[in-house]
Amino acid sequence: MFIEYSEEQNMLRDSAERYLRDNYSFDSRQTAVKQASGFDADQWQTFAELGWLAMTFKEEFDGFGGGALETMILCEQFGKYLVLEPYLESVVLVGGLVEAGAQPTVKEQYLAGLIAGELQGAFGYLEEAGVADPTYVQTTAEASADGFVLNGKKTVVLNGPEADSFVISARTGAAEKGPSSGISLFFVSKDTPGLSLKNYKTYDGRSASELQLENVAVMSEALVGELNNGFAIATPVFSRAILAVCAEAVGAMDALLTATVDYTKQRKQFGQSISEFQVLRHRMVDMFMEIELTRSLLMATAWKLDNNAADAEQCVAALKAKVGKAGRYVSHNAVQLHGGIGTTDEFSVGHYFKRLAAIGVMFGSRDSHLSRYSTLSARLSS
């Protein structure tokens, strides 16, 4: 395996890099954080115009047919500039689920609106009593004459406040064939009667909601994927989402290392730049090594996902586990080497740290992916 980027992929990276560098300053980001929506609607519109929102969808839906590599290229730049706009929630998660399993009418309507920058989505898959496990689903969907009726609660639904539509996991049957069996996915518009939201901000500057569903009636066309087997489409979408947040993490870690190297060169204590202290130099070298190892896993995983390699899922688990460790090491030491200013709201370093803390938690902790990695390795070698 040797990754060579196509000309289009190189152009995508260069244009994302250039656009964000020139138009996504930390100060303007912080202004957007303070808005109710938690991001800048004009930026989202520009992302649509630049074709970023269409990049990974199939050509039949007016997408550009990109895959995991394109997701990685974009998200790495989003991480580097701490982009707030809900690409992960609207495009990777809800866009991915809708493309993979929604009925044609839903697909046409949501994807067209999404690609045009007019629609937003959010995936409600977590519940309060079992937040570490997406197969913990108590929300129910009962069959009715012409569809389903949903009841239950979903917690920490990222981008909930801005979403026009949700994909919601609900139990339609017992977990007879493993923990994820009996779970189905439903496409629910925000204005559906019985759906209510409690909105709030997250520590990493985004927005989220608690969802309550009280007799939310949807038509049978709302089903996304197979009945009782929603995880057949959710699992690959989660893998893509893990790749996306890990790419974001690599971009964020790059930004932290650059900032730390610059700061330690410029900061003088005891009559010299603190970058001259060997203990700090080695710390920064270790940060660098953690980042490069993570980057190698990231690139290989993207390539393997695009090529349906037998060990792609194993690499996804390895990558998420590695990001958990590297993200902590790099962000903790970036804050430590910046000293007091690293702990302030005014300075960017702490915001990268908070984003990496959230990424470390999302879609499973380091430990759960380590155990997934060993299970998958044992299966592959037997």
Binding site: G130, T202, Y203, D204, A208, Q269, L280, H332, G339, G350
Partner: protein, 395 residues
């Protein structure tokens, strides 16, 4: 009185004196500082009981307790979720004034510190002088019976709530940098002094920058002689480091972790406390915390025998803060996405709404974020390791 009887007395007092609101403020602490109003209420309760400054000599308002009783008191207070009293006056400046202050300074400042009439903050660090504190530039120039101060102090905790600040200022540029520093007490309402809050990563204000623009201070406010401030400050740093019991903090963290582990489900569907990987990780930190507890007891034994902590206090600061950070990480792992929810209003002791998510995870992210500063303030982990290298290993 045996220690057990003493402990029973302390518990009885805490049970009757800790109001629900004060206790709530202690439960909701996300850093070393609790809610200001609740903490001052608790300060006044302890003052009325005569227990506000157990570490002080009895003639100045101390309790006359043994070292062991003082430890029991601290432990019981923390485990009952009493807010920690602000250390800047009682723990830092008080003992130092008792040692270096004039008779007038003691008579004036100590009673006001005990009663809570004065709230003190510490003006040491400057934008250009952090780890290298001796390079500080805020200047005090003698003018008749006064000094005129110009410059700025940063990372001044709770300056927005304080009416007094003790500062290190430069009074001479001759000789070594340490030789030209003086220690001075300043009224926060002095003309030319201003406070700018610094918003922390959790969205709250604990730190400030304090600006001095021709601030006039009587020369009588000098503590120790002019240019002798470094010695005074060094003794204070010992109080800052030696006065903190990390073990009690760790026990409080472990109690929280136990609650989380016995109520929250891990990815395998069982409780965290039954997850073998988690058990091993928790035990790994707990063993280090236990080793640190015995180290703290060793140091206390040395105090009783008339010795001092020496560079072991640096070891305790490094390990105590790093172990605390590891406990924070375990909590974040268990509370998972619940830690994302930012609900600052629910962290106020008077909050009467309904908080989002499990109550045992309410403070988890803010504690994790805020505790990153623990290896930076009060002498960074790097500086502490340098001290051990120099003073113990003679490198």
């Amino acid at each position: 009185m045996t220690d057990n009887v003493f402990r029973t007395d302390v518990r009885a007092f805490l049970a009757e004196s800790l109001t629900p609101e004060i206790k709530r403020a202690g439960e909701l602490m996300t850093s070393v500082f609790a809610d200001f109003d609740a903490t001052m209420d608790w300060h006044k309760t302890l003052y009325a009981k005569g227990w506000v400054a157990p570490d002080w000599p009895q003639e100045h308002g101390g309790t006359g307790w043994t070292l062991s009783q003082r430890y029991i008191f601290q432990e019981e207070c923390k485990l009952a979720n009493a807010p920690a009293l602000f250390a800047m006056g009682l723990q830092m400046l008080g003992p130092m004034l008792i040692r270096y202050g004039t008779a007038e300074q003691k008579a004036y400042y100590l009673p006001r510190m005990l009663s809570g009439e004065d709230v003190w903050c510490q003006g040491y660090s400057e934008p250009g002088a952090g780890s290298d504190l001796a390079s500080l530039m805020t200047a005090a120039v003698r003018d008749g019976d006064d000094y005129i101060i110009n410059g700025s102090k940063i990372w001044t905790s709770y300056a927005q709530h304080s009416n007094k600040i003790f500062c290190l200022v430069r009074t001479s540029k001759e000789g070594k940098p340490q030789a030209g520093i003086s220690f001075i007490l300043v009224d926060m309402d002095a003309k030319g002094l201003s406070v700018e809050p610094i918003v922390g990563l959790d969205g709250t204000v604990e730190q400030c920058q304090v600006y001095f623009d021709d601030v006039r201070v009587p020369a009588a406010n000098l503590v120790g002689a002019e240019n002798q401030g470094w010695d005074v400050a060094k003794s204070l740093l010992e109080f800052e480091r030696g006065g903190h019991n990390f073990t009690i903090d760790h026990k409080k963290q472990m109690a929280k972790i136990d609650l989380q582990a016995s109520t929250q489900l891990s990815a395998d569907g069982g409780l965290w406390k039954d997850n073998p990987v988690f058990q091993a990780k928790l035990a790994d930190v707990a063993v280090d915390a236990l080793a640190l507890e015995f180290t703290e007891l060793r140091v206390k034994g040395a105090f009783v025998a008339g010795g001092n902590a020496g560079a072991l206090s640096s070891l305790i600061k490094v390990m105590g803060t790093e172990i605390g950070q590891r406990f924070n990480e375990l909590s974040v792992e268990m509370m998972a996405e619940h830690t994302f929810v930012k609900q600052l209003d629910a962290l106020l002791p008077g909050f009467d709404g309904e908080a989002i998510g499990p109550s045992c995870g309410l403070t988890t992210m803010a504690e994790y974020i805020n505790n990153r500063a623990a290896t930076i303030y009060g002498g960074s982990a790097e500086i502490q390791r340098d001290i051990i290298a120099k003073r113990v290993l003679h490198l």
